[in-house]
């Protein structure tokens, strides 16, 4: 018989014997012993594989979380940008609504204008608006914001734009009235960008903190009763003819964006 065939038969016989002894249960003690003696090593290797698996899973989770975190950060950034846009649109909307309400109720003729920029002189409290002579804007007209609060006067108008002196500019002077019983008149002057004061108030006039200051209408191009400021305190020196009221602005002039020019 071919030696190779003989070997195949031997192998098959051995396999048959092992399988038979296994199913007969004769191999059980040896199998148990083998499994038992390997259990320590297998326990360790299996534990190592488990920890490696959990490390890998942990790493994958961490990687996913980092990616998710990055995506969420980007989303948050976009939402913040959207929110900022929305906020500025809401503010603009509110402002325009207020202006609309004022223009409808006051009966004045208005030109709506946007503030383009400040002026090149840093000491001056002035702005440039996008309306000029072509739109009917001339020097001396009142410029108001929101619900008709006076913010300044046009001092120079060009064809397509005009320069506006804000109330806080030291060159700004507006004839005004205190809304008290005697309708005290005076002159509201700017204080080098720091604030406002009302001068030329006769000593005998009763002006107190909280009184509102409005335009007097004595200047031809500025209508009467436009709100200017509120009295913060009154400075009085007995030896002087006039007293001075320190005023606080109703609105901040630093972040104006849309204004109205009143055409008399």
């Amino acid at each position: 018989m071919n030696i190779f065939l003989k070997r195949i038969i031997i192998v098959l016989v051995i396999i048959a014997l092992i399988v038979a002894t296994h199913y007969l249960g004769w191999l059980k003690p040896a199998e148990n012993l083998l499994v038992k003696s390997l259990s320590f090593f297998q326990e360790k290797t299996h534990a190592a594989s488990r920890s490696l698996k959990s490390f890998k899973e942990g790493w994958l989770i961490k990687r996913d979380l980092l990616k998710e975190n990055g995506d969420l950060k980007d989303q948050l950034k976009n939402y913040q940008l959207d929110q900022s846009k929305l906020k500025s649109l809401a503010e603009e909307n509110l402002l325009l609504k207020k202006e609309l309400k004022f223009t409808e109720s006051s009966g004045y003729k208005f030109i709506s204008a946007k503030i383009i920029t400040g002026v090149s002189d840093p000491l001056s409290q002035s702005v440039v608006i996008n309306r000029g002579k072509k739109d009917g804007v001339v020097a001396g007209l009142a410029v108001v914001a929101e619900q008709g609060i006076l913010v300044g006067k046009v001092f120079e108008a060009e064809d397509g734009y005009a320069k506006v002196t804000l109330l806080t500019d030291n060159k700004s002077k507006v004839a005004a009235t205190v809304q008290n019983l005697t309708q005290t008149i005076g002159l509201v002057e700017g204080q080098f960008g720091l604030g406002l004061q009302m001068t030329n108030i006769p000593q005998n006039e009763d002006v107190k903190e909280g009184d509102l200051i409005v335009t007097s209408g004595l200047e031809g191009q500025i209508p009467k009763n436009l709100l200017i400021a509120r009295v913060e305190n009154v400075r009085q020196v007995k030896s002087e003819i006039f007293k001075t009221a320190i005023l606080s602005l109703i609105i901040s002039l630093n972040n104006l964006s849309d204004v109205l020019v009143i055409i008399p």
Partner: protein, 172 residues
């Protein structure tokens, strides 16, 4: 030298345990069938008895930890060994690098085919629930590639430290 063979069997047993309880747990490492590599190396280098002992021992241990009916791995390893032995005796008679590589290639393919046939037959007679899925075919291809790769590394290492791979004809 007396303890060399028992020591090797302990080492082989530990390799088998490592294969079962560590390598088989990961998708990537499951592609490394160290036992198959050892069997091919034994067929290539050792005599019939030792190689047969390695194949039977490997099959026995695999069967002990297998959910499949006892004997499938035993038969698969032993039958693969017989076929490899036949190929070595009749075709790859020199101990060249290419012989080892082809033997590894055939070894891995034959082992899986025999395993599939054996488990398929057992499935047909209702003895097991094993049916190869897509992942099995990936494992099949993966083990062929890694077996060849590991054998190439083993050949280079053995060639550096031993003269066993120097050109010669087998005198069996």
């Amino acid at each position: 030298m007396r303890y060399r063979w028992p020591a090797f069997f302990i080492f082989l047993t530990l390799i088998l345990a490592f294969q079962i309880s560590f390598l088989a747990n990961f998708k990537i490492s499951a592609n490394f069938n160290l036992v198959l590599v050892i069997l091919v190396l034994f067929v290539f280098l050792a005599d019939f008895k030792k190689s047969l002992a390695v194949s039977l021992w490997s099959g026995l241990i695999f069967d002990l930890y297998s959910p499949l009916p006892f004997g499938i791995f035993l038969f698969s390893f032993a039958a693969s060994f017989i076929i490899l032995e036949f190929l070595l005796q009749n075709f790859f008679t020199n101990r060249s690098f290419y012989s080892l590589i082809f033997l590894g290639l055939f070894g891995a393919a034959v082992y899986h085919l025999i395993f599939l046939i054996a488990s398929g037959l057992i499935y047909l007679i209702g003895g097991s629930e094993f049916l190869p899925t897509a992942s099995y075919w990936y494992l099949f291809l993966g083990q062929i590639v890694t077996t060849v790769f590991l054998l190439a590394i083993c050949y280079s290492l053995i060639d550096k430290i031993s003269k066993r791979f120097k050109p010669m004809f087998l005198g069996r």
